[in-house]
């Protein structure tokens, strides 16, 4: 089943009023792969992610989850399969970190269902793996931005999705936390067959951890392929308008030519 399509966007276009943000984008997300979406600011990455999550409906084209049009699936059923970690993570209410992580059970729970000991144990395991268990009983309003990102990621893992959509979800983490979080996500992808679609600005992370990279330019899909094949000098020039020096199989150095 791995490498078979889980989610498929077919010729999707989207506009905010008269402002066309995405035009005719087609993209396949396979089971058990880590797909990174890159592109300059305003290239339509977040809008594409919102379309893939079902939060926005395309003006043209359609998104299919396991062959079913996303629009025909109820919000609740969708949430059982797709988890989203969005950019806005402002928290106004002092839920404890554990309470917040347990909210990941919401799409799977019946009304008035209490949290079982097994579910609490699962929350503990996830929070330990993301290194947030040590402040499980602390209010979410009292921890740092990076710690909060890890708590929200833990909630998304608690949701037990087959597809995890991340919008710059590791951007506020320090380098050590970022590497350990990416390793954890990749481990989940390999172990459970979960798919991840993630927006990144850090191209080193993209190069090192992605199975595949999709690049957006002015609302259209410019490039799509494995990082080794895709991230060439031409790619940097075309998508980001910068010169880069490629170090064979080790990464790249972006030259300061702006």
């Amino acid at each position: 089943m791995l490498n078979s399509p889980l989610l498929e966007a077919k010729n999707v276009s989207f506009s905010y009023g008269k402002d066309k943000v995405l035009s005719d984008v087609s993209l396949v997300v396979n089971r058990g792969e880590y797909l990174s979406i890159v592109g300059m600011n305003g290239s339509g990455k977040t809008t594409l992610l919102s379309l893939l999550s079902g939060h926005l409906r395309p003006d043209k084209g359609a998104v299919f989850l396991n062959g079913r049009n996303l629009n025909s699936i109820s919000v609740r059923e969708r949430a059982r399969q797709i988890a989203l970690v969005s950019q806005s993570r402002q928290m106004n209410f002092p839920f404890t970190c554990l309470e917040l992580v347990l909210m990941g059970l919401h799409p799977h729970s019946e009304r008035f269902e209490t949290v079982s000991d097994e579910q609490l144990e699962k929350a503990r395991e996830i929070m330990e793996s993301t290194d947030v268990w040590r402040f499980a009983d602390k209010p979410i309003t009292e921890i740092s931005g990076g710690e909060r990102q890890r708590v929200v990621l833990s909630r998304a893992l608690m949701q037990n999705p087959s597809l995890l959509l991340l919008d710059e979800a590791v951007s506020e983490l320090d380098i050590a936390a970022k590497i350990s979080m990416m390793k954890l996500l990749l481990q989940q992808v390999r172990k459970t067959g979960m798919s991840v679609v993630s927006i990144h600005h850090d191209l080193t992370t993209v190069f090192r951890f992605s199975d595949r990279v999709a690049a957006l330019k002015l609302g259209s899909l410019a490039e799509n392929g494995t990082p080794e094949k895709l991230m060439t000098k031409e790619f940097f020039k075309d998508v980001f308008s910068v010169d880069a020096e490629i170090l064979s199989n080790k990464g790249f150095i972006v030259c300061d030519n702006i």
């Binding site: 059923e77 309470e99 919401h106 009304r111 609490l120 040590r134």
Partner: protein
Amino acid sequence: MKDMDALKKYKQSRKKCFLFGLALAAAIFLLITYTVGLGAMELTYPDVLKIIWGKISGNEEVLYGIKEGAIAVVWKIRLPRIICGAFVGAGLATAGVIFQSILQNPLADPYTLGISTGAAFGASLAILLNMMFGIFLSVPVTALAFSLLTLIAVTAISMRGGGLVSSNLIIAGIIVSAIFSAGISFMKMLAGEIVYWIMGSLGSKTWSDVALVAPVVLIGLAVSQFFTSDLNVMALGESDAEALGVNTKRTRFMYLALGSCITAVCVSVCGVIGFIGLVVPHLLRFSLTSDNRMLMPLSALFGAFLLCGADNVTRLISNGEIPVGVLTTLLGGPFFIYIFVRRKGSVRAE
């Protein structure tokens, strides 16, 4: 050891909330039954219990030996006022929890959307028209009608302005509220009686007021409680709530309608009573829990206790001359500044 602590604390916090709820329910019962005997005509606690039991059970024999006047004072004057206060306090606090979560703003309250100003305008209009034309337009019904009209206006403006999101709703609430406030000021100039009503008072409430406010508050609380897990998720913001399986548009509209109806009925019965809806949920959230499944019923109980207590203070100290709305705002305001400043110190800066 630390592992056990967090799981234990989670379970213990549920137990703590439950026990606090039980204690509050007992405290409300004691407060009502004890203070109903206090006033110009003082009664013993056993006599008060006998009157209440006799009237509820219909067993008039237990009233033997108690003066008719005392029975009338307790059953017809004091008890409806106190019970009405308890329901209004519960209603305003419930509406506070709803509006704070739906608007994702811990400083919102039942009056943020201008619902109360709409109700106050309706009531003022009824009072004025009754005086000018000698008619008998019902003050609560007119207040209720105008508060619902306010809700329709606020949601319509918000939809036209880009959708039912919290920032649009708050802005629309400010606009509508400002227009009604100007109308109220004009009517105050024409009829001084309006001033006292607007200040918020539980004086001379009858069983028919209880019959109006109690079902709305109880049904509103029950429906709100049924969907509280959705309300928890709504407090995280629209995109997170939808990603967790909540139909955000439907949930927001349902809670707005519920919160507005509860507020409208409370305001239509006893005027504008400030700060209960703001302070009660806020205080419990920062001292006990943010989980609306527990916060909602606890706020209702604490709101009932607080307004009952405050009304008894105005009733017994000033002989009912100070409207309870003035007292709640006078005490609630500085208290709110205190908890706000204290809370700010504990919220981490980005």
